[in-house]
């Protein structure tokens, strides 16, 4: 269990799920419980309202409630990052200001959904965000959800003081290596975070600063141990822990199907653990009752594997 004075954009920063009640309201107690769970596991930061947090699917009021709840629950123990991606620039600005006032440390921004932005248009947009943002910003590439961030836009972000890092959820490791190379040459200190948890080990081994592992909602200590092994160059440790991550990825996350599969599994497992409810915001929905035994069984298996791997680390 680590996290003494973690620095912004370093280590394991779980994209927190957003528990919601049956009426669709944010379950503030549930969210606080998730915060405690991951801090207890030693994570280095919190990321709310990301893709795993169903951020874009929430209303502005729900979003603000999530930010307030998470920053209060974190209580300064570690930096809170806030996903502000929005089709509307006013929405980006409004939530960024709220995040600053609530004491968040930074925002995370992907290109605007719905409006395709080729290179020059995206650069114009990033300039405007840099001018308007009261907080440091991480640029976010998640081409499965919004337009892709082309290399020239990442390079441009590195020239803007307000942009302090890049979160790559494209799954393309070649791109990540290119960004790390540019960072080392032109802007040391610019943070590079990897999205898919299956790539956390290698990304950190090769110079990334950390990762936004969705599975850390469930097994925070596993991902912290993986990150620390990678940061320490402990190859045997990385391999062993990465193996557990892959096992979970190939089993527990596959109960559902389609676009909602991953979020559904993480929330469904948290529900089995009694941490929070398993419902999802529209357009998705949580598991049906008949799927729950399968989730429970795969969760137990995953927990056993995680415990074994962490016991091995500890000993």
């Amino acid at each position: 269990m680590s996290n003494p004075a973690p620095s912004l954009g370093t280590g394991v920063i779980p994209p927190l799920v957003t528990p919601c009640g049956p009426d669709g309201r944010v379950d503030r107690d549930g969210l606080a419980a998730v915060v405690e769970r991951v801090i207890g596991g030693g994570v280095h930061g919190l990321f709310v309202l990301g893709t795993t947090g169903e951020g874009p699917a929430l209303s502005m009021e729900q979003k603000k409630s999530v930010v307030t709840t998470a920053t209060e629950a974190a209580a300064g123990r570690l930096p809170v990052l806030v996903g502000v991606t929005d089709a509307s620039f006013d929405g980006v600005r409004e939530l960024s200001i709220h995040a600053a006032e609530a004491g968040a440390a930074a925002t995370v921004l992907a290109p605007p959904p719905y409006s395709p932005t080729a290179g020059p248009e995206l650069i114009h947009y990033l300039d405007a965000v840099a001018d308007a943002s009261p907080l440091p910003v991480f640029l976010y590439d998640i081409p499965s959800r919004t337009g892709a961030v082309p290399p020239e836009a990442v390079r441009h972000a590195m020239t803007l003081d307000r942009f302090v890092g890049f979160k790559d959820s494209s799954g393309r490791m070649v791109t990540l290596h290119e960004v790390i190379r540019e960072r080392d040459a032109n802007r040391p200190g610019f943070k590079v975070l990897v999205g898919p948890e299956e790539l956390l080990g290698e990304a950190v081994l090769f110079g990334a600063d950390g990762g936004v592992a969705g599975g850390a909602n469930l097994f925070p200590a596993l991902f912290v141990a993986l990150y620390e092994a990678a940061a320490a160059g402990d190859l045997a440790g990385v391999r062993r822990l990465h193996g557990v991550v892959m096992e979970i990825s190939a089993t527990l996350y596959r109960v559902g199907q389609h676009g909602s599969s991953f979020i559904k599994s993480v929330k469904g497992a948290l529900a089995e653990l009694g941490v929070c409810g398993g419902g999802l915001a529209m357009p998705y929905e949580g598991f049906k009752p008949e799927d729950r035994p399968k989730v429970r069984k795969l969760l137990e298996r995953a927990q056993t594997a995680v415990d074994a791997s962490l016991g091995a680390v500890a000993s």
Copy 2:
């Protein structure tokens, strides 16, 4: 000039641009001027907050202002349709209720941006929209901006009373023909509208009920004449007017580049005509001063061609 008692989802329904001031606020006078312009040209309905109206790029407050302004300006002369596509279901509901209260006739809804929805997920979503919507809904397919609407989702919408039509901006005429065939077999009265103005003529000739032609912001009478020729089976008229549409498409709409090209041209041309300002909402921006002479010249050429073609119709 037509539009006596147009029925919902029939004829030319321009996707109105949203004029904004330099401060980003909706220019209500400008929008009212656009409304008068298109009603003067004989259109059969108004569609606000679509893609051309930069709907998803506006804040909820701006969106409501647009709806209020347009319904007031329309003053019951023709039906107003409101684009309610939103990554957040609460956003869809909130704007739908506002639209109903303001006196709009229907809403228009694409799959939620950001959250990919495979068939079963989209059908679950459409059911929820049908339950929550106070107004009739048109399903909207615009795969360049959100996930595509698969055939089974269109078929499902036809089984829901709350869904009264389909707007196809995919540009794939084979799909449009398939939907028309299903409509004729299973739900006569379900309206089929085509997006790209370059396809208005043939779509109506083959059974579509009308179109959402962005160019009708500029040249409403041209598109009304084209629609009426097609609805009347006047092939010679359709060909002549379609030729003018293609000419404008290949010249005036190509001054800009990238994703914003079309909206930029329409707004830039309206600005040259003194109807409203030419600025665009983030992430886009209007033409630079040095591009304006080119816009003016192509606009004049287009106007000449339109006048000639309408003169021919009239005579």
Copy 3:
């Protein structure tokens, strides 16, 4: 029944299926029977080794056999077009020379499979093809199979004497209209053909010269009637016949699934009619015995609808 002295690239030019024996050899008698069938239906040209003809899946020896068989069977009664698309330029050249020697009228060429060609690379390629080709060439856009043909490449082809037409199987009617507009302005006589048979009617109504309708293997007279109605501006005829085309498209062509669905249905139906075998070249395979009753039933229904519509035309 028409086809007196049809001109190159005009009218209905069916993409002939390639019947093969169980040993994979070209069934020359079967192919000759298909040729007679479509000529009997009044078509205006033949297109062998297209996508429907499984051209790229055949060996060079098989391809040559198809060309020889078809040109012999056609015996000068109408022009034969030969698909020469090949990942290898030598393959393009070799088959083009064979086609010229066999008496074919023209070739049809898509961008090279496997090697992605951006605009400048494709233009370099088209120049080389123009230099090497002994026959006139039709440029072919089928983005579902090879890289797309961008607008600048079509425009470039119009400047090359050796290129005499464009076959658009993209399904994007906006593109087709743009090409027709460019053709009218810059190269009258350049032929424009549409791929999907569901678009034949409107394409010809709006200026295309004809179409490459796969369904004409089965129902040549239906497509000839549709083409002639469109060429004559007979809107009522076009609508009635187009309705039959859509009916077949939505029923008979949907027995199979996946990439092979259309070819499988056309060949399977020809096998039911006793014209040729229903086997497909690798990577595909024909219908399994248990699917055949369904094919037969839908084929009979289609035949009834076709007969009724043609009887209506004739009377």
Copy 4:
């Protein structure tokens, strides 16, 4: 310098370029020189007629000449793999037989270009290839060129004795990890090779058996050292050598543009070194004379970096 008795599908297996004369014929002396160059650098196998070898762009005669030349030049010193991907199944079979007769060790096969194969169709195809192939086969995923290989097809290949490995050029490391996990669970001995050279280090660190690094045509010893460092778990060595690989990737490979950029750079650099000519097969072309100074300068820089890194390894 290593390569004593390398086993099939292990280590660095360069995808050899195919030198061609100005007349388009295979430059057999040039190819033999490339073979000597890479064997001199210690590589563990040879792969001819891959994407870098422009395999699909060559005629069957050229392909056979390449196979014969390479196997003769290799003279049994290491295994030769032959790319047999072809839109035609007969082409796959014919080249596979030639490869076996020439003494090659295995073939490498991607899904057929041009003909899209969904899962069940691809599985049918793999079964047929397994039956027909006289040599062991590596399944090849390169979604930028042919249809993607879905997970179920990789799993199916693992059940077929004739398939002995998987080459992943998708660039998606999550997929590679999944395949490695399945391999470890179900078919130990099934080889996993990574395509992009920028991913060689991490792939081998995490369980891949080797890689098909195109840059090894130029700098074989660099990639051999990187592979050996990774296979030995020498993290410091991997990082240092990977840094050089990224430097070359970001400079030398970017002289050209578009689809041909990488192959053009590798061949252009080999031409500067006097190993073989720099021409490319259609649809591509080699560098223009005015680009050559830039290639030379970046090549010299790359060579200096490589020498420094290898000196560091040696000392």
